[in-house]
Amino acid sequence: MDAILAGLSQLGQWHVLIALFAGAISGVIIGAIPGLGPAVAIAVLLPATYAMDPLTALTLLLGIYSGAWYGGAIPAILINTPGTPVNVLTTYDGYPMTLAGQARRALSLAYSSSFVGGIVSVVVLIAMAQPLADIASNFGSAEFAMAALMAMVLVVVAHRGRVLAAAITLAFGLFLATVGLETAFNTQRFTFGQVWLQGGVPLIPVVLGLFAMSQAFVLLTEDDQSGEPPRLTGRFFQGLAEAFRYPKTLFSSSGFGVFMGILPGVGEFLAQFFSYTLAQKTSKTPDLFGKGAPEGLIASEAANNAVPAAALVPLLALGIPGEALTAMMLSVFMVHNVIPGPELFATRPEFISGLYLSLLAMNIVILIFLLFATRLIVALSRVNTKFIGVIILALTLVGTYTASYNIVHPLMALVFGLIGYILKRHNIPIVPIVLGLVLGPIFEARLRQALGTAGGDMAIFVERPYSAGLLAVMAVAMIGIALTNRQRRQREKIAAGER
């Protein structure tokens, strides 16, 4: 009870409330504009949040993260263009419903499913983060090293069909993390005698380049993608209850989202894929999927929106980010010397409670905003994507130059922007670069500590039960992907033989 009251007093601060509303509302708007997305917005705002207190900064960024998935459903349903990449499956059933004159019904279903997914994941975060942190309080360096390694393995394995490409970009990110002055022995690593490289490769120019600038280049070099949405009539309240007519789909998809969100590196794509597949298999009308099935829409949206809060579980409990957006948020913790992990729950309970309550509140704010402002947001789906590209580039200046007053940082961001642009054109994932850059130093420090304790004996990683358990998870994931690939190759061979 004391913790809840402490959390309420944290949430009641005017700057936290402003961050809550600003983050939630701008998140929805950002999600609704195809081509923008939360990664771009968070990368742009990240340097500015360093000046805020940690709860305000995280509330703002989490509002954008959560709100964008809600907002992304709007263009997915109305103009068959997902607002964010994770709303792809929403187009499968949302757009056919629009074509059938049921746009308002589809939007209402998406909102209520997203809301349930969001609330379920916050409840799971509240229920799981503390027990997991209690377990993690028994962790030593060996376990933290293996947890970081597990996050790396899972982020590669999660890129189905692009495992090799993901491994390459992860290794690239891990290498970038080694550049600079190695503090233990004051050794320069790959600095080429350049003073500006001694501090290492900074995160901000990398994320701004990879996510924001590369996206700006894509938008500036491609034709305008904006579409003409249909006119919406009627109110959105009426359809909200319909999602609860499919409780099995609604709650199992939320559960999938939570589970996949907790697993480092997995995230929204696999969550919605598995939820959608399961919903289709268990549906009484599987043939309707892809043609306007309410269950398909529910599965996709509930799973997507269950991920953001769940993704905070490994970050808060272990200090290990599972994907790019929480990796960026880890930097907010670090700037303020708030170290996520087991000790945070003991030393800053009011911060943890405040974070939980702000997550609950932002889902409510987002839903209410959507119910009243959808028609206004729909207009934003029509913004010319070339203009968005120009604006993204202009916005990145604040993060690259004015945050460091150093011409090297914008130039570095431009180089990463070009790298990101080329990788995107070839469908090579960029998220593992950021995870490698963030997880690399954690892994190196913990590996050294663990092996130092064990006198260099690698057996420490299998002798300690939690560490061995994490290794087992990695082994299962790798065997699983190997078997899946083998089955896929066999299916392809059979299909080729039939032709």
């Binding site: 500015a48 000046a51 792809v88 890129h159 189905r160 069909g161 692009r162 491994a167 390459i168 290794a171 690239f172 891990l174 290498f175 993390a177 080694t178 190695e182 233990a184 022995f185 050794t187 320069q188 690593r189 790959f190 600095t191 080429f192 600038m213 700006a216 280049f217 500036l220 070099t221 894929f273 010319n384 070339k386 203009f387 590209g389 120009v390 604006i391 580039l393 202009a394 200046l397 604040v398 004015t402 945050a403 007053y405 011409i407 914008p410 922007g417 070009l418 642009y421 080329i422 054109r425 070839h426 469908n427 090579i428 490698g436 690399g440 590996l447 050294r448 092996l451 130092g452 260099g456």
Partner: protein, 184 residues
């Protein structure tokens, strides 16, 4: 094509072979440079404390997986396709180089920032780059003005982001210069 057939999502775009080779050369080159670009710890604290360990592991991993990727692309026939579709590959590389034009725009924006201040340089950047990419109707000039005002309000007034002093403001009366420097 399903949303998850990621291997084939960009099938029409050549150049993956160049990307794969780039990472292989980057990894192998890094490994070759290791004796020059990393060091050895002076004491005998163990192999795991050596500063070269992580660069060795990461560059070794990068070289190995990019080699596997190169082999995969070779077996899938992408190298043969790239060879026969030379103009398409050259076109793809030309697209990469063309995107470097934005380097120049961005550097010009940074230079202008120090000369004429954040607000004016942002407006010029948004308006001129908009014109360059085909946004030529008057409404886009208005949009550029609106976007600039929004950015000034957010970053200069709201978040109080510091920007370097603009040379142009030195030519104005001091009170105006101080106001513009602080808020614009």
């Amino acid at each position: 094509m399903s949303a998850f057939d990621e291997d084939t999502a960009q099938e029409g775009v050549p150049g993956r072979t160049v990307v794969a080779l780039f990472f292989f050369v980057f990894g192998a080159g890094g490994l070759a440079l290791m004796p020059l670009q990393t060091g050895t710890s002076p004491g005998d604290e163990g192999w795991f404390t050596q500063p070269w360990l992580m660069p060795l592991l990461t560059l070794g991993l990068l070289t190995a997986v990019s080699l596997l990727f190169v082999v995969k692309l070779w077996r899938d026939g992408e190298f043969a396709r790239a060879k026969t579709s030379g103009p398409a590959l050259a076109g793809e590389i030309w697209i990469w180089l063309k995107s470097a034009e934005f380097f120049a725009w961005y550097v010009a924006y940074i230079v202008l920032l120090g000369l004429i201040g954040y607000g004016l340089s942002t407006f010029l950047f948004v308006a001129c780059l908009g014109l360059r990419v085909g946004l030529r109707q008057p409404k886009w000039l208005l949009a550029a003005l609106g976007a600039t005002l929004a950015m000034v309000l957010l970053f200069r007034l709201g978040l109080e982001i510091w920007v370097p002093p603009a040379d142009l403001y030195d030519l104005l009366p001091k009170s105006v210069a101080v106001f513009l420097q602080r808020y614009f």
